[in-house]
């Protein structure tokens, strides 16, 4: 038995023991798993590597923190209440259309930033109260947000796993829009209708109005929406206009949050932001633990063992692994899945078949994005659950069928990649 496999098994065993039996937090369990893996691999306690591993997620953690501040401001200023009231009163007569539009709203920040976290924490937080108001159960609403955020992350114009996979084989990020739209739009529409439609067929508008704050919108008017408008405009302009200064998603969230302090109801920003950060620290800690874990996997050679073992099982297994192991690797990092597994898989597929390379890369990138649903990280699921105030396991259970439909669509696309090659033109 390879020593790398022994290291991998030790890391997983210690993680599961610490998390499930000792009930330690996921973050601490992952650190313990990493330390034990390094010891078994003869690396001692590799402080440098444990520390360096956490830096994998520094940018993500800053985006999450600043998005949480933005979300707090939008909620407390009354903008969220006003937006909910406006959407429900205008669209309650056409629930299917309303649900699809709300899904696109959830997807939009993901499409622009390539991040499911940004999508779920910005648009997801805006849409969640509407979904709950129209009678969709919390766990289903959370699942809609999680799937919507992931479809947004996968949809064009920005799909970062596709860029990472393409970058690994010197394939320019050109021609991906068609395949990615084909993969994401039908799945998003199916998910929101499957999860939500039956709960909003017989909406009683008067009952709904009783749960809405119709006054805050009248009192502050359009200015309530200024932080949301600023956020959307800055995200779009900074991505689509190359000459515009690159502010970065964190700064855009912060600018929008600061503007929101002056456009609606007054509140104690310091107290509310502390509350928001308290809720997010466990997820940030989890990301740091994951960073240490994956760095240790590489340090002891277990990463190589995993990838080579997958490749050794033949082309059929490579296809199967593309829709099982690759999203599962998202439990560690969906971007990591793209870089570590996506690149060698794409190379093997295009070297051994005559598939359309862009369609295959798009499908693999889509599969990587689904990894943001995988526990323990499950960034999209975690934050969707937090928004609807549930444990994330309940939200994830409701994501199973949409997830399987996404996988089925991806399988159909990869098996018919040549027929879909016209989409890359």
């Amino acid at each position: 038995m390879d020593i790398e496999l022994i290291c991998l098994m030790s890391m997983l065993a210690v993680f599961l023991l610490a998390n499930l039996l000792l009930k330690l937090p996921v973050s601490v369990s992952m650190i313990l798993g990493a330390v034990v893996g390094a010891l078994v691999g003869g690396q001692g306690i590799p402080l440098r590597h444990l520390f360096e591993g956490t830096f994998t997620y520094v940018d993500t953690m800053l985006i999450i923190s600043t998005a949480m501040l933005f979300m707090t401001v939008v909620q407390e200023s009354g903008a969220l209440d006003a937006l909910n009231a406006a959407i429900v009163t205008k669209f309650y007569k056409v629930p299917a259309l309303m649900l699809i539009l709300l899904m696109f709203v959830v997807m939009f920040p993901g499409m622009i930033t390539g991040s499911s976290t940004a999508a779920v924490l910005s648009a997801g937080a805006l849409v969640a109260p509407v979904l709950l108001l129209i009678g969709i159960p919390r766990e289903k609403a959370g699942a809609i947000l999680a799937i919507g955020a992931i479809m947004g992350m996968a949809a064009p114009p920005i799909n970062i796993p596709a860029m990472l996979i393409g970058g690994g084989v010197d394939m320019p990020y050109i021609g991906f829009d068609g395949p990615l739209f084909l993969l994401t739009i039908p799945c998003a529409v199916f998910a929101v209708l499957f999860l939500g439609l039956k709960y909003c067929k017989n909406m009683d508008i008067e009952k709904l109005k009783a749960g809405l704050d119709l006054e805050v919108g009248k009192k502050y008017g359009v200015r309530l929406y200024i932080p949301i408008i600023v956020l959307v405009v800055l995200l779009v302009v900074s991505k689509l206009v190359p000459s515009f200064p690159q502010l970065g998603t964190c700064l855009i969230f912060l600018i929008s949050a600061v503007i929101g302090l002056f456009t609606g109801k007054k509140f104690n920003f310091w107290k509310k932001s502390l509350e928001a950060m308290e809720t997010t620290i466990p997820v940030l800690a989890k990301l740091m633990g994951v960073g240490m874990f994956i760095q240790t996997l590489t340090l002891v050679g277990a990463r190589g063992w995993i990838v080579v073992s997958c490749l050794g099982l033949g082309m059929v297994f490579v296809y199967i692994a593309s829709f099982t192991i690759m999203p599962a690797f998202g439990a560690v990092s969906s971007y990591g899945a793209a870089s570590v597994i996506g690149v060698p898989f794409l190379l093997v597929i295009i070297q051994n078949t005559s598939c359309s390379d862009i369609v295959v890369a798009a499908v693999l990138a889509f599969s990587c994005c689904l990894g943001d649903l995988m526990p323990p990280t499950a960034l999209a699921g975690n934050y969707a659950a937090q928004i609807v105030e549930l444990k994330y396991s309940k939200v994830l259970k409701n994501c199973v069928i949409p997830f399987l439909v996404c996988v089925a669509v991806a399988v159909v696309c990869i098996l018919n990649s040549n027929a879909l090659a016209f989409l890359t033109k």
Binding site: G167, Y173, G248, G304
Partner: protein, 375 residues
């Protein structure tokens, strides 16, 4: 949300431990800023900094040594870039070998061993790479830094989610924002990395460099490996070189894609008169399939997982348990560099690198034999 109860003493003690740990680790991380010695050999006639051609780089971590080896006879000129990606050691070590061993007999050779000097000062998270590797010379052991593919975030951060190449508008993953070989031709008012690229472009323009060769490595599963990638203007030179070296080594030529921007072989060929070429050798410490990386893997190139992957047909170069050593990878680079110079016959004359070791000599003696001893 249940508030966490305050335990001020415990929290303070933990904070102090964290501060101590961070200081200890920071000392380790900053030690990577100490540069490995490069000893100017008998052929070196001048050493300038890149800021000589682009003064805005002066005093920054982007400024880097440009070794000038002037034969004293007029002729053509060649620029060799090593260390564009400091996690690709054969490019760097080949450039260092030129500085320490080469004595051109006509024309002028310019060598930048650390093209992205900043990227030598850090390693990539998730890659668990060693910070140093060691090469035996005739009378000692030299150390060299194993760095990152990208500029140190201390010098350029944060990355945007999407990197937009300035002159073409091409979109790439944000992780490429700090990649020097996606930044050409560079911008005088751009990012740190774009400024370094701009400095190199200015050098080429100012010195009217005839040939520019960017030395790289790629993982053994990559499609462009053991290859010369040539701008369309340099395809003839690449073909003549291939003809001369093919008795010793197998190598392919690829035309620089016209739709992949920011790379030396595309942009330097488009924006200057230089014949732009890039070379790739197979580096087992670089890909996704290798086991644990240490100095041994970097130098010997032996990895059991790559050997296993080769039996599955998952690598694109011949790979056995014997590995592909750093000496063999440097031998490829140096053999082709010698021939690029020999085969060039342009309006500005010729260039010859003089008595450089052959491919077979480097394989037999090891690359350390041609490096200076540690001083």
């Amino acid at each position: 949300m249940k508030r966490i109860p305050k335990h001020i003493l415990t929290a303070s003690a933990l904070c102090l431990c964290v501060v101590g740990l961070v200081i200890y680790l920071a000392i380790g991380f900053t030690s990577q800023r100490k540069a490995e010695p490069i000893y100017a050999g008998p052929g070196v006639t001048d050493v300038k900094m890149l800021s000589h051609w682009f003064p805005a780089l002066a005093g920054s971590n982007g400024d880097t040594e440009v070794y000038i080896l002037d034969s004293g006879k007029p002729g053509a000129s060649m620029l060799v870039l090593g260390g564009t990606h400091p996690n690709e050691p054969s490019g760097f070590i080949s450039a260092v070998t030129l500085v320490e061993y080469c004595q051109p007999t006509s024309g002028t050779l310019y060598v930048i061993p650390r093209a992205n000097n900043s990227a030598f000062t850090c390693t990539d998270p998730q890659e668990a790479a060693p910070t140093k590797y060691y090469i035996d010379t005739k009378n000692g052991t030299r150390w060299f830094r194993f760095g990152s593919r990208a500029t140190n975030p201390i010098d350029q951060w944060p990355d945007s989610e999407v990197y937009v190449h300035a002159s073409s508008g091409q979109q790439l993953s944000g992780s490429e924002t700090r990649n020097l070989n996606r930044a050409y031709p560079g911008r005088a008012d751009g990012t740190f990395t774009e400024k370094v690229a701009y400095g190199i472009t200015q050098l080429i323009l100012a010195q009217n460099i005839s040939i520019t060769v960017d030395l790289h490595e790629a993982s053994p599963e990559y499609t462009t490996v053991n290859a010369i990638v040539a701008h369309e203007n340099a395809l003839n030179l690449a073909a003549m070189t291939l003809w001369e070296v093919e008795e010793d080594l197998s190598i392919t030529i690829e035309a620089s894609p016209t739709n992949l921007h920011g790379l030396t072989h595309r942009e330097l060929g488009d924006y200057t008169n230089t014949l732009a070429l890039l070379m790739e050798t197979a580096n087992a410490s670089q890909g996704r399939l290798h086991g644990a990386i240490d100095s041994e893997l970097v130098v010997t190139g032996q990895d059991k997982f790559y050997a296993r992957a080769a039996t599955y047909g998952a690598v694109t170069v011949p790979y056995t348990e014997a590995g592909i050593s750093l000496s063999e990878r440097c031998a490829r680079h140096i053999a082709c560099l010698v021939q690029f110079a020999e085969q060039y016959d342009g309006p500005d004359g010729v260039i010859s690198l003089g008595a450089m070791p052959t491919y077979r000599q480097i394989l037999a003696n090891g690359i350390g034999y041609y490096l200076s001893d540690p001083q």
